[in-house]
């Protein structure tokens, strides 16, 4: 079978699953939808996961009494859902694997399938005088880069689908969950298989939408709804950058097709913008802004930790393994552009490094197990951007690849832990779970070693390569290397803090929950085991050059070579390569990882009173960290209250919201600043409050005139508008 020409089918399988689920799914759901929102006594959030489990039999019988017959085949059809949705992803996986195997035999390692013209344009004179016609196809491109991505998406995606059949078994809206999840896989595959930026944008927005729907899946939790909206709004800010970058690319290059863009940029007509910040640098920066939104980098990372309100498999699939790496993929896809823009690349590397260390410091003090992992994801994504920024594109994708295994495993493992302790997410109420849930423990143990960077495990190979490139490549610097190295140490510490608080030491689990602790079903432990195997093996296809291996052990770089090959990359690769330095640096990072693990063990296992003492001694620092550097508060004050609410009401009907918004904003501001000093409070904050309310009052006067409902006022504004027009003539 010729899989290569059928790559357009790969996204369609999950789309089919999604359409079936969302259109006919409500007929498969054992409980009528309207009962979901009002069913008393059944707390169906993941917090109350276990509670739901125990109440479930009870409620189930009730359902039997009320909806006779309906529920009978409900159970059977649930099996249909469990088979259909993961099955569709499995089909995609088979097609992907087939296509990738056949791609290996294609000499140029690139295959395009074009369905039809999607966006057609008019002939247009470009800046250079050349006549161009803008068009974008509904077309798909399979090359080494996209092949890695589709294998990650379908492979990890399939395992997470299987896991979900166990994890979500007791939740209502089972069909809805799988419908959204399949829809997500569809859009994600569109994103990575598209052959141009415009079609990629379809997937880009689509995964955002699915992420929104899945974060807000527990619809009766207000925080879940807010988190979903926050994710979407923050992402739209990034998307504005993407759109502008794409349009600018068209007007400069005349195309947005990946192959053509790369060819035009490599043709020699464009020189690297080493001197100043030119049009290519602007283009690259705009695209990078898009990437910061999707991949949760500074300044747009704030949505990702809140996104943990969604079900845990969602966090694993969307917010760790696939969607959040879309930004990394996009920048890597634009490698030809970033090679010509050293200034923007420096920005990319710096933002990545800074994000990595900032998120790692926040992760040090979080007590919610999923939040630690969320900040860890932000931090690891920062690593990937660091690699992209120093021109080591294949390394970024390598880290993306290994990270997908161990981070998905960590999330799914944490889901299994949460499942075991009846929905508790606070690590202060865990501990000593090692022997009670052994499979979960041992698989997470592997993942924690992998992320900490212990040799032999997947994370070591990719992380070490990033550090080496940050040090040695032309774009790299000692500062970037040191930040990366420190982050590696912090990572080892917070990850083993998590392990110790969860699995080792004395149990702090509430007694009534303790009785119920049990290992998860096979549908959950089997994916965990497979991911654990992946977390060990995935790294071995990219062993350090220093180790002198060849063939499969260096296969990853060789496989990706055609996607990034160009003169600029050669230059970077042949940069100073000093075996002894590489050996020393490797030793340093291994040592630091071990030290991190050691300190974590000392503080949280051997002498557990230490963290409390440190917390008491360094109150302000600890508070600042556990409040996540107050970034949310600052953003709330600046944008949500100051801009949206204030500005909106200023121009709309005048209502109480204005004052509330102002006072809220001032409230946030107060909280933010009180941690610094009281002086600040009395003088600046009070002043600000007064100033804010004064401003609101003053600005409300024009508002009252504007939309009071009085016709005279409206007519007056027509006249004012006309007079302004005349005024323009006089003032011109």
């Amino acid at each position: 079978m010729n899989f290569l020409d059928q790559i357009w089918l790969i996204p369609l399988f999950p789309l089919f699953g999604a359409v079936v689920m969302l259109l006919f799914g409500s007929k498969l759901d054992p409980q009528p939808a309207s009962d979901v929102a009002v069913a008393p006594g059944v707390e169906l959030t993941h917090d109350g996961h276990e509670a739901a489990h125990h109440h479930h039999g009870h409620t189930h019988e009730h359902a039997h009494e009320h909806v006779t017959g309906h529920d009978h085949h409900g159970g059977g059809l649930k099996t249909v859902v469990s088979l259909l949705c993961p099955g569709m992803v499995l089909l995609s996986l088979i097609w992907s694997a087939g296509a990738v195997l056949q791609l290996a035999n294609v000499p140029e390692r690139s295959h395009e399938v074009i369905q039809f013209t999607w966006l057609a344009g008019l002939p247009f004179h470009m800046a250079g005088g050349r006549l161009a016609t803008f068009s974008a196809d509904w077309g798909f491109l399979l090359d080494p880069l996209s092949s890695v991505m589709i294998l990650v998406v379908t492979g990890i995606g399939f395992l997470i689908h299987v896991y979900s059949t166990g994890y979500m078994a007791h939740d209502n809206g089972y069909y809805r969950f799988f419908g959204y999840l399949n829809l997500f896989v569809f859009f994600m595959l569109m994103l990575v298989l598209a052959n141009n930026y415009a079609l990629m944008f379809v997937g880009w927005e689509g995964v955002g939408l699915c992420s929104y729907l899945l974060i807000g899946f527990y619809f009766h939790k207000k925080s879940a709804g807010d988190a979903g909206k926050k994710a979407f709004v923050v992402n739209r800010v990034g998307d504005a950058g993407f759109i502008l970058g794409m349009l600018l690319m068209f007007s400069v290059l005349g195309t947005v097709k990946f192959v053509d863009v790369r060819q035009i940029l490599g043709s020699g007509n464009f020189r690297a913008e080493t001197a100043g910040f030119g049009v290519l640098s602007t283009m690259a920066l705009l695209l990078f802004i898009g990437a910061t939104g999707k991949s949760a980098q500074i300044p747009l990372y704030v949505w990702l930790p809140d996104a943990m309100e969604g079900p845990t498999p969602v966090s694993a699939l969307i917010h760790a393994a696939t969607m959040v790496t879309a930004g990394v993929y996009m920048v890597a896809r634009s490698a030809a552009l970033y090679q010509l823009t050293p200034h923007t690349s420096t920005i990319v590397a710096s933002v990545g490094a800074f994000t990595a260390i900032l998120a790692a410091t926040i992760a040090l003090v979080q007590n919610d197990i999923k939040r630690v992992l969320a900040y860890s994801t932000v931090s690891q994504l920062g690593y990937m951007f660091l690699a992209l920024g120093v021109g080591a594109y294949w390394v970024a994708i390598f880290h993306l690849f290994t990270h997908a295994f161990f981070k998905a495993l960590l999330f799914l493992g944490s889901g299994s832990v949460i499942h075991a302790v009846s929905g508790e997410q606070d690590m202060r109420r865990m501990g000593g779970l090692k022997d009670k849930i052994p499979i979960t423990h041992w698989t997470m143990f592997v993942a924690a070693l992998a992320i900490a960077g212990i040799p032999g495990f997947a994370g070591f190979f990719s992380k070490d390569e990033i550090l080496w490139q940050a040090y040695s490549s032309q774009q790299g610097s000692n500062a970037l290397y040191v930040v990366g190295l420190l982050t590696a140490g912090l990572t080892a510490f917070y990850m083993w803090r998590l392990m110790h608080m969860t699995f080792y030491g004395r149990s702090r689990v509430a007694p009534e929950i303790e009785a119920h602790i049990h290992e998860s079903p096979a549908s959950m432990t089997v994916p965990l085991t497979l991911l654990a195997i992946g977390s060990v093996l995935a790294g071995w296809i990219g062993t350090p050059r220093l180790w002198g291996m060849s063939g499969w052990f260096r296969g990853f770089e060789q496989w990706l070579e055609p996607s990034f090959a160009s003169a600029a990359v050669e230059a970077v690769k042949e940069g100073a390569h000093d075996a002894s330095t590489e050996g020393i640096l490797m030793g340093v990072s291994i040592a630091l990882a071990l030290i991190g693990i050691g300190i974590a063990r000392y503080c949280y296992h051997i002498r557990p009173e230490i963290p409390g003492a440190i917390e008491a001694r360094c109150g302000p620092i600890h508070r600042t960290l556990s409040n996540k550097w107050y970034v949310d508060e600052i953003y709330d004050f600046l944008f949500v209250n100051g801009f949206a609410k204030g500005g909106g009401t200023l121009l709309g009907a005048f209502d109480r919201n204005v004052i509330d918004g102002g006072v809220n904003g001032a409230g946030w501001f107060t909280r933010f600043s009180s941690s610094f000093s009281i002086w600040w409070d009395t003088w600046i904050v009070d002043g600000t409050v007064r100033l804010t309310s004064l401003l609101v009052k003053v600005s409300s006067y024009p508002v009252r005139i504007v939309q009071t409902g009085r016709v005279q006022a409206y007519a007056l504004f027509v006249v004012v508008g006309a007079l302004a027009f005349f005024g323009y003539y006089l003032a011109r």
């Binding site: 729907l213 909106g648 709309g652 003539y729």
Partner: protein, 488 residues
């Protein structure tokens, strides 16, 4: 001028005459269907009228295609049937069809089911025909007033409802006021050219020096009248009140058909007689567009009434469309054409869901009335989601296309600042559209009464929903239509 009723003239007028005839038929035979239940057959009469008018439009289109002429000129140039006019008329047909389909059930619920409503729909579309096809100041003005008068009555159609009455009076007073500006501008144009034909006026204005005060005066006063009609700031104030008070079906019709017709009118004037004065109006319109997007998007954030929210959203869309005119190249004008079409069905679709929420004793026009819609009527919720995504400009829905071409034209013509502002406002817009989505998908289900659905409503929702998705994924036909239709 000797042969007033030549076949050519009659041929050009067929669609308008058909619409007017069917409207008169309804007025005369109103007594046939005495009770409120029977009045629903008038909706069928409207559909029949639209089909016959559509046949007329189709024959004109076929004539242009086979003869190779670019237009049919009738009444010595007062009326020009070109592809531009035909394109907009198809939009009007679609809008009237959808509105007629959903009106009968809605009017019964409101308890104001009268034959005149349907007649007014047809007369209004007749006025729109002249707005799109008129190439003479007088023809255009009569078309505008014919359309506007119908709307004044329809906005106030709920006689027992204070909000509806208030809206109608406000709209009438302000509409008349702005028409005064428009006619003042027209009179100066006539004074300059000695003729009311747009081509003559264009020649006269082109002969004047740049920044001629008379031309500027004519341009600004005309612009005030036109911008009022498309509800651009600061002439938009009537829109939120009129949209909120009017019967929801008419709000939908007003926001789509009236806006499309006014844009046709605006393009005729600005790309016709005022084209030579481009230097003078381009910065003015740019300022108006920015102000419109600002007010529309920011004011929408704090609205709790969904009709008012969509009113501000509709104001902001007018701002985006204006940007295409400012860019002024082929892509921009084509972008406006695409935008108008796409906006028609996505906005109608959103209003259809709001109409379905209006049930006996439930007004249903508050954002909170949408709460938990996903769990009561998932079909409606998913459709509303698609319409809102489209309004927000997210691919692969149709709304993305319109914005895409507009922004592309701005970049092509180096209006970078405008492009940045516009894309940022698109990001702001997601905030209020997703407030509705959040309410639907995450809100607690409070109201359990079933939605007011009817056969016509389901058909209309089907049409708009399928179009919103299909055009987004496979836009080729619409793009080709739009490409052929723009004014050169």
């Amino acid at each position: 001028m000797s042969q007033y009723y030549s076949t050519n003239e009659a041929f050009a007028l067929t669609p308008a005459l058909t619409l007017a005839l069917f409207g008169c038929w309804i007025l005369v035979f109103d007594f046939l269907f005495a009770n409120s239940k029977q009045k629903r057959y008038f909706a069928l009469v409207v559909v029949a009228g639209l089909i016959f008018a559509g046949v007329g439009l189709y024959r004109q289109q076929a004539f242009l295609a086979t003869s190779g002429d670019s237009s049919i000129i009738a009444f010595s140039g007062a009326l020009t049937i070109d592809r531009f006019a035909l394109y907009f008329n198809w939009v009007f047909e679609l809008a009237t069809l959808i509105v007629a389909l959903v009106s009968y059930n809605y009017l019964e619920i409101e308890g104001e089911h009268h034959g005149e409503y349907y007649a007014l729909l047809l007369f209004a579309q007749c006025g729109m025909f002249f707005l799109a096809a008129g190439t003479d100041l007088v023809t255009l003005f009569i078309g505008l007033e014919l359309m506007a008068l119908c709307f004044y009555v329809m906005v106030g159609f709920l006689r027992g409802d204070k909000r509806s009455n208030e809206a109608a009076i406000k709209y009438l007073l302000l509409g008349a006021f702005s028409s005064g500006f428009l006619v003042y501008g027209f009179s100066i144009m006539y004074g300059l050219a000695g003729s009311t034909r747009l081509t003559d006026v264009a020649a006269a204005i082109a002969a004047r020096p740049a920044w001629d005060p008379l031309v500027f005066l004519a341009m600004t006063t005309t612009a005030v009248g036109l911008l009022f009609k498309i509800s651009a700031a600061p002439f938009h104030m009537w829109a939120p009140d009129a949209y909120e008070g009017a019967p929801t079906t008419i709000t939908a019709y007003l926001s789509v058909a009236s806006k499309a017709a006014s844009f046709a009118f605006l393009l005729r004037i600005f790309l016709g007689p005022l084209a030579p004065a481009r230097d003078a109006w381009e910065p003015l319109l740019a300022a108006v567009a920015i102000l419109t997007m600002t007010i529309g998007n920011l004011a929408a954030i704090s609205q709790t009434n969904i009709k008012r929210l969509l009113a501000y959203s509709s104001i902001s869309h007018a701002g985006y469309m204006l940007l295409g005119l400012i860019a002024g190249n082929d892509t921009g004008i084509q972008g406006i054409a695409v935008y108008v079409m796409v906006y028609a069905f996505m906005n109608l679709g959103a209003f259809l869901v709001v109409i379905a929420l209006r049930r006996k004793n439930i007004i249903g026009d508050d954002v909170d009335d949408m709460a938990g819609l996903m769990y009561r009527s998932p079909g409606y919720a998913v459709l509303m989601l698609i319409f809102l995504l489209s309004l927000a400009g997210i691919p692969p829905t149709a709304g993305f296309l319109g914005k895409y071409y507009i922004f592309l034209s701005l970049i092509e013509t180096h209006h970078y600042l405008l492009a940045v502002i516009a894309t940022l406002y698109v990001a702001v817009a997601i905030y209020y559209y997703f407030r509705i989505v959040k309410t639907m998908f995450v809100g607690e289900l409070t109201e359990k009464a079933p939605l007011a659905t009817s056969f016509g409503l389901r058909v209309a929702l089907g049409i708009t929903g399928v179009l919103t998705l299909a055009v987004g994924v496979y836009p080729e036909p619409v793009l080709r239509l739009a490409q052929n239709s723009f004014l050169r």
